[in-house]
Amino acid sequence: MEVKFGHGTKHSGNCNKFVLRRYLSIYLKGLLGAFLFSLLPVVCQAKNLSVGKGFMYRTIREALEQSDTGDSVIVNSGFYSEGALVIDKRIFLRGIGLPVLDGESKIAVITVHASGTHISGFKIQNSGFSDIREIAGIRLDEAHACVIENNYFYNNYFAVYLANSSYCRIQNNRIEGFARTETSSGNGIHLWKGEYNTILNNHISGHRDGIYFEFVKESSIIGNLSEKNLRYGLHFMFSDDDVYKYNVFRENGSGVAVMYTRNVLMENNRFEDNWGSASFGLLLKDISNSIIRNNLFSKNTTGLYIEGSNNTIVRHNEFRRNGWAVRILGDCYEDTLTENNFMANTFDVATNATRNMNYIHRNYWDQYTGYDLDKDKTGDIPFHPVSFYSKLTEESPHTLMMLHSFFVDLLNQTERVVPTITPEAFKDVAPQMKPFIYD
């Protein structure tokens, strides 16, 4: 059965409508800001400066020097290696036929200080590498309402780096890195401080973190594919009131990590194939008042890892073929796990908790073996998603090799009838008889 992802509003009846409305307004404000800035050149009298063989300017540097605020610098196809370019007035820098900007592995290719700058259509490659400075293909320094779109970033240290910039839009870029070790590599899209930014439809691979947010508020990450990054597909901290949807995070070293943040909405994302000893689909650490819904967690070592979080709703997600579908630590409270599908996971829920301070209610568990005599589509006996064996493997990891042994099943069944070491309170009193169908 395939899960179709769509706007989850259909099921949002119980969700916090206020939160949702606010997210929508954030998103629109961001778009509007960028749009208004982009209208400016039409209003003013602007000129076009063409760069390339047989054009007025041989180098981009020359054209940039001759340009005024609001002008367009149009770069024709070719190979440009002109050292570090700095944009300090608002211009449109547009590539035609994918001109190559090369950093010779030494320098920061483009640094932008001017708000409203628009960069599109370049292949930006081989930025410098530094242990001290965060050198990038394109770096925005306190430049707001900029647009970076349709570029191909190839083999950069950091690809796109936004420092203290707001109302920017990064979209339709292909970002390809060749990170080998975490210490010697940078992030695909890196945002440090800012608000109302939009990261849309990018494809990022081979960096340290695909997308990195730190102190970025009221921003949205939509429709990106972040895969095969060394550490996290998406990594964000201290970034409240953000929205993440329709993204795919796949085969990243450690999955996606969301930390120290309030009011996050994550919906319609796919977390897939994140394998490894410290790997998970999505890690929540110190998250509060957030909503995780309509996501698919498939084939991760741990699907969803929740630590120190509270008042977070996990609803309408599908957990399929994960090693551990959900691992919820004892310091979580008042989180809600409801109306999710748990299918073909090796372990459904693991915990180190002895008490349960969260709500686990009305999920579908394919390992549920109870019955439904009153035909209300809800199982008549509770389901304990933390199995005896899952507890055992927590304590002695090597016993994992006895998985699917008849003896293990015997233990699990016995434990379900007479719970001894599994937390009795960890139960779904209304397990569903049939999986939910989301659309």
Partner: protein, 239 residues
């Protein structure tokens, strides 16, 4: 009897495929069937068959034929028909529904277990003249391999969980053909879980060509040792 076994496998297998919601959880149920039922049927059927054909074997041995040929003929006849049953009962549904790598591994493991437990059946049969005693020990042997052994291993692993146990685990699994078969399929099925934590180590070992050859060789040894041990006894046995 063999027909009933074929039918049982076929019904179980198709039933699981038909009812199963997710392919990999269906295979897990199927794995349980194979690890429990195949050894049980093989060792019980083999033992009963051997005792029931005592007089016939005696008759055959009175003919101008080598004892070894009779012995291996009997073994191949038994294991062969059980393998046929497995291939029809299990192979056909698998081919029809999901001919994936994991499913094929399941079939191969079933095949090896059939040969192993047929050989063990012969060993228990030739060791004891008394039919009731022979069938009893066959049942015990099955219980030991299918249930008891794993319990003891779990206990050991739990008790010594503070020590590095990788090699011990490898040795322990090698001591039980059902466990080797289980681990082989496990690595194809529960990759997600096994890629994490300790599992990755074993994944590395069993996932490589060397590990596969190793486990297949151990399974082969599990066929050869009981088979030839039983042959030795049989060649000196008074009928």
């Amino acid at each position: 009897m063999v027909l009933a076994y074929t039918l049982l496998l076929f019904l179980l297998c198709s039933g699981l495929f038909y009812l199963g919601s997710d392919y990999s959880s269906t295979l897990v149920s199927l794995l349980h069937v194979i690890l429990l039922i195949v050894p049980l049927i093989c060792i019980m059927f083999g033992t009963i068959h051997f005792y029931n054909s005592r007089e016939f074997i005696e008759m055959l041995l009175a003919q101008p034929v080598d004892r070894n040929s009779i012995y291996f003929g009997e073994y191949l006849g038994l294991a062969g028909s059980l393998v046929m049953a497995l291939f029809i009962g299990l192979g056909i549904p698998i081919l029809l529904w999901q001919p994936t790598e994991a499913a094929l591994y399941l079939l191969v493991v079933g095949l090896m277990l059939t040969f192993i437990f047929s050989a063990l059946a012969f060993l228990t049969s030739v060791r004891s003249v008394d039919k009731a005693k022979g069938i009893g020990s066959a049942l015990l042997l099955w219980f030991y391999f299918a249930v008891l052994f794993d319990g003891v291993v779990l206990l050991i692993l739990h008790y010594y969980s503070d020590y590095p146990l990788e090699e011990l685990v490898l040795v322990l699994t090698s001591l039980n053909p059902i466990d080797i078969g289980r681990v082989l399929i496990l690595l194809k099925l529960d990759t997600s879980a096994l890629m994490g934590y300790t599992g990755a180590l074993y994944q590395k070992f069993f996932g490589t060509g060397f590990g596969q050859v190793f486990s297949m060789s151990v399974l082969l040894i599990w066929i050869v040792i009981p088979l030839f041990r039983a042959r030795k006894i049989f060649s000196k046995k008074d009928l």
